[in-house]
Symmetry: C2
Amino acid sequence: VTSADSLLCAPHALTMDGSGVGYLADAALAIDRGRILAVGRRPEIAQEYSAERTIDRGHHLMLPGFVDAHMHTGMCLLRGLAQDTHHWMMHGVGPFSAHLSPQAMDAGTRLAVLEAVRAGTTTFGDFGWSMDSVCAFLAQVGVRGAVAVTIREAEQRIYAPGELYTFDRALGRRQFDANLQLFDRWHGAANARLRVFFGPQGADFLSRELLLEVHQAARARATRMHMHVAQGDRETAQIEQRYGCRSIACLDQVGVLDANLLAVHLTEASADEARLVAERGASMALCSGSIGIIDGIVPPAAAFQSAGGRVALGSDQAPGNNNHNMFNEMKLTALFNKVHAGDPEVMPAWRVLRMATIEGAAALGWADEIGSLTAGKRADVSLIDLRRPTLAPVHLRPMRNLVPNLVYAARGDEVDTVLVDGQIVVDKGRLVTMAEDQIFSEAQRYAAAIGPAAEAEFFRIDNANARAMRDGNL
Amino acid sequence: VTSADSLLCAPHALTMDGSGVGYLADAALAIDRGRILAVGRRPEIAQEYSAERTIDRGHHLMLPGFVDAHMHTGMCLLRGLAQDTHHWMMHGVGPFSAHLSPQAMDAGTRLAVLEAVRAGTTTFGDFGWSMDSVCAFLAQVGVRGAVAVTIREAEQRIYAPGELYTFDRALGRRQFDANLQLFDRWHGAANARLRVFFGPQGADFLSRELLLEVHQAARARATRMHMHVAQGDRETAQIEQRYGCRSIACLDQVGVLDANLLAVHLTEASADEARLVAERGASMALCSGSIGIIDGIVPPAAAFQSAGGRVALGSDQAPGNNNHNMFNEMKLTALFNKVHAGDPEVMPAWRVLRMATIEGAAALGWADEIGSLTAGKRADVSLIDLRRPTLAPVHLRPMRNLVPNLVYAARGDEVDTVLVDGQIVVDKGRLVTMAEDQIFSEAQRYAAAIGPAAEAEFFRIDNANARAMRDGNL
């Protein structure tokens, strides 16, 4: 008999091992010092391992924690302020994001992490400006993160459609330095739960010279570059004006499309361009909800996968997508791709569940440690209550409906327990490592200052929401 | 001072009065004998009305109960069994629905109603075969319903693609009789919370003669006809083979496209056909989730509205859409239409919230009684907890983010209290008029018999799910 810290038992598990979801009935996990010692049928595991603690859930489903590969948690206080309008970045969120203080970003991060972890997300691919605070907070909450500083040289202001960005070399240098310092301070910290990536904002936002420098810095440190690629017609127009080519061709010329790249969005990429990025070995982060709402576009993830590329899912940010919930991303990814292709067999539920777990982990270069319930990996696990209206009844034969129900019905509130590194982070649906009430009050307090500061610009730009407010429709 | 049964108070209300959402701050509702006596600012209402009971929610949003205009609650036990595969009706759900006993349908109805009412649905547009039980259950739970019996002459069996249906006149006659009896027994019952519509399944499923008879019966009783219209290529093929015209042209010829018709789906309708149906005065029920999953299609609701037609939302059924949740329908309606049009300004949040409330009520011919918080209407009200990660923070100026957050972030579990006819049906997110545990156990018990009975046919048809099960991917 081997001793373990904990045994985790449930009538159903999706290990995500193998080519599908790796279903296991009457399942048990033996966990020791944060790692999975063994996965198997309960009688065998119980015989082989003795544990101090047994977490036994009688009507639950066990599965790996979700990987949310692309997030801007610092924007969470702007939830609901920029949908339903054209020119999202400049005319939608622009008037508000100009007034996000570092404290407001931090309060937003706390709210976003609360929302996401309660819905089963255990790995956070965060991207933004106040990243020291983000790392400290992720460490404190007890979750996992791959964190990057946004690096840009383009000056922060609202540009008119078509206007070429003006560059500030010193700004880019400062942000690159911040990313380097973040790497030194946090990469490998918190029991190796934190990794630091490098975050050039996108081909349009910085010079080729700085982009290459960032690329080399990431390679020299054996870490990844996390970058928006072909994220909008705005980007295409900037790059064409500056270099006379489209984004992906330009990036390929410079030589940054490689296995170290997590390429986010590919909103404006053609299927051929998406396949080129995949063939170069890069991974893709697909933000279905965000790009659907902001642009009305379904990015070419299916083409990317058909060329052998790995696709992770990302919830992006609250003023666009409006939520940080991988159940939402899985559902929208399956549905948008069906609607886009006019074919209900495209992106089946089991495939998108892989994108939210093992394929997402692989896209971050982390599949050796997370993404499946496999002996030797870290114990990042969710337990989902099947005695909820959305997940009942359970069918096992001739077809198991567990995965379609997770993808097409579950909302996120069915997540009962979340463990990261074998430690309980969420219990009975509540975050146990932080005071939830304080997160809400701080979010509301810092949010209160943003709207009034943005008011004049909001009505000057007069977007569709400003008109709806004026007409009394909103 | 006027006396009332109850006062309902919350810091925010969306009355849905006027052209938009009718926002009201510091709101109160005076309710007496199931009706709204007055809506207004709390200080004035409190001064004018004295009530035995005050329901005071400090961080909540008040809005009308949702209208789910098209449902097959009786199919709920088949949740998760028929997505991700072609020929949904025959090859997806067909093997399972053949083994749904009336008891299994009733257990499904109870589960579906539990799910929906906890997510704020107060009016159920149900359509199926075991409708006496449905009416009794809706009356007992205390919610509102517009209920129809499915009337078809086509024999119930699995047809090969393209095979012409065989008709059984006696079957059609029995179902029409059942609908007539249901009308006599339940129309206007349960304090007028129940209405009975007539439910021909679709132009392809019954003869013109019976369709006309049903149409006249509905008109003679001043009630509506609720019918699937142009719901799939299957229907188009049947109608073209039989009559040499497309569904909507055929129905127009026969004369059943009129103000008494609730036309469901319009999946295969062109924009011109949709406009024709709207111009004839009919209403539309749009089931975004269901048609997106089953067919990969976005029905022409925008064209229907542009011709002045009213569009209600419907959650359809669990083995397709997979859930009965109007938050899901609102989000998917907004997002699918943006993605379909490639335009983020299409179907803004405030517009789809109207479809789930006042426009849905109008589509059912019930807008004089429900769909908005208006003096004189029935008190069907939801109170939504804003102190949830999905709905925080609240911005009021210069833009209110309440409606975008309801549509793009809320999941349904934020619904705290639901009243129908002034009576509390849901409290703290739980159904108080029925035993929830019993609903779950019954659902599981009746579900257990369905799969084994369907097994041989499921693997004989060998759809995409059968292959995924065989390959160990599901």
